[in-house]
C-alpha cells in the first residue's frame, strides 16, 4: 500500500531563514503524481505544485523550490527567505494510481516569527 510521510510535525523559524519541508512517498507504482498544498490559518487549501514521476528536474517559483528525487521517494519543498505570511500547514499529497482519491500526509505546521 502507498504511504506518505511528513515526519516534521512542526517547524519554527525566524523571518528570512530558509526552511525545507520533507515528504517521503513509498509506492510500488512506477508512475505517480505528487501535490503540495498550503493551508493558511484562514483554512482554505491552496494548491502549490504538481509534479509527476517522469520529471525529476527541480522547480523554482519565486521563493519556493521543489526537489524531487525518485530514487529516495522524496519530494521536498524549500522556502527561501521565509516570511510571516508563509506560516501555514503544508501538506504533501500523492494520488495513487489511477490518480484518484488524493492521499494526504499529516502535514507540517510552519511557524515564521518576525
Amino acid at each position: 500500500a502507498q504511504k506518505v510521510t511528513q515526519a516534521q510535525t512542526e517547524i519554527s523559524v525566524v523571518e528570512k531563514e530558509d526552511v525545507t519541508l520533507d515528504c517521503v512517498y513509498e509506492t510500488r507504482d512506477t508512475t505517480y503524481y505528487l501535490f503540495w498544498y498550503k493551508q493558511p490559518p484562514s483554512g482554505e487549501l491552496v494548491f502549490l505544485i504538481r509534479r509527476n514521476s517522469f520529471d525529476e528536474q527541480n522547480e523554482i517559483s519565486g521563493r519556493y523550490s521543489w526537489n524531487f528525487q525518485k530514487s529516495t521517494s522524496s519530494f521536498n519543498f524549500t522556502i527561501t527567505a521565509s516570511q510571516v505570511v508563509d506560516s501555514a500547514v503544508y501538506f504533501c499529497a500523492p494520488p495513487p494510481w489511477p490518480f484518484q482519491k488524493l492521499v494526504f500526509g499529516t502535514g507540517t505546521r510552519l511557524l515564521v516569527s518576525p
Partner: protein, 114 residues
C-alpha cells in the same frame, strides 16, 4: 481558480438530526470527493464519485451517505449527526485537463454537532 462551491459554509446542528452538505462545480470534472479534516488526522476521504450515480466509499464512510444525480452536484448526508462528526468538510474535484491532472478543493464547511 476552478469553479467549486460548498454550502453552507458554517452549520450548527443537534445530535440525531440529518444534515446535508452540498458541493457544486462548474468545471464538468468527472471526479468529486468529500473529505473531513480533524486535528491530528490531516484530511481523510469519506466518499467519492467517478460519475453520475457512481460513488464509492472512502476510509471513514460510516455514518455518511452521498448522492450524485448531476455531474455538477455532489451531496454529503449525515444520516443522524453525532458529536464525532463535528469537523471541517472539504469537497474536491479532479480530472485530466490540458495541463495534466488537476485536483482542486472547495473552501470548506465547518460543521458543529451539539
Amino acid at each position: 481558480d476552478a469553479g467549486i462551491t460548498q454550502s453552507p459554509r458554517h452549520k450548527v446542528t443537534e445530535t440525531g438530526t440529518p444534515v446535508t452538505l452540498r458541493c457544486h462545480q462548474t468545471e464538468n470534472h468527472r471526479y468529486m470527493y468529500w473529505y473531513r479534516q480533524d486535528p491530528g488526522h490531516g484530511l481523510r476521504l469519506i466518499h467519492y464519485s467517478y460519475g453520475v450515480k457512481d460513488t464509492d466509499k472512502g476510509e471513514v464512510s460510516d455514518g455518511y451517505s452521498v448522492s450524485r444525480s448531476k455531474t455538477e452536484d455532489f451531496l454529503l448526508t449525515l444520516e443522524s449527526a453525532t458529536s464525532s462528526q463535528t469537523s471541517v468538510y472539504f469537497c474536491a474535484i479532479s480530472d485530466w485537463t490540458g495541463e495534466g491532472y488537476g485536483y482542486t478543493f472547495g473552501s470548506g464547511t465547518r460543521l458543529t454537532v451539539v
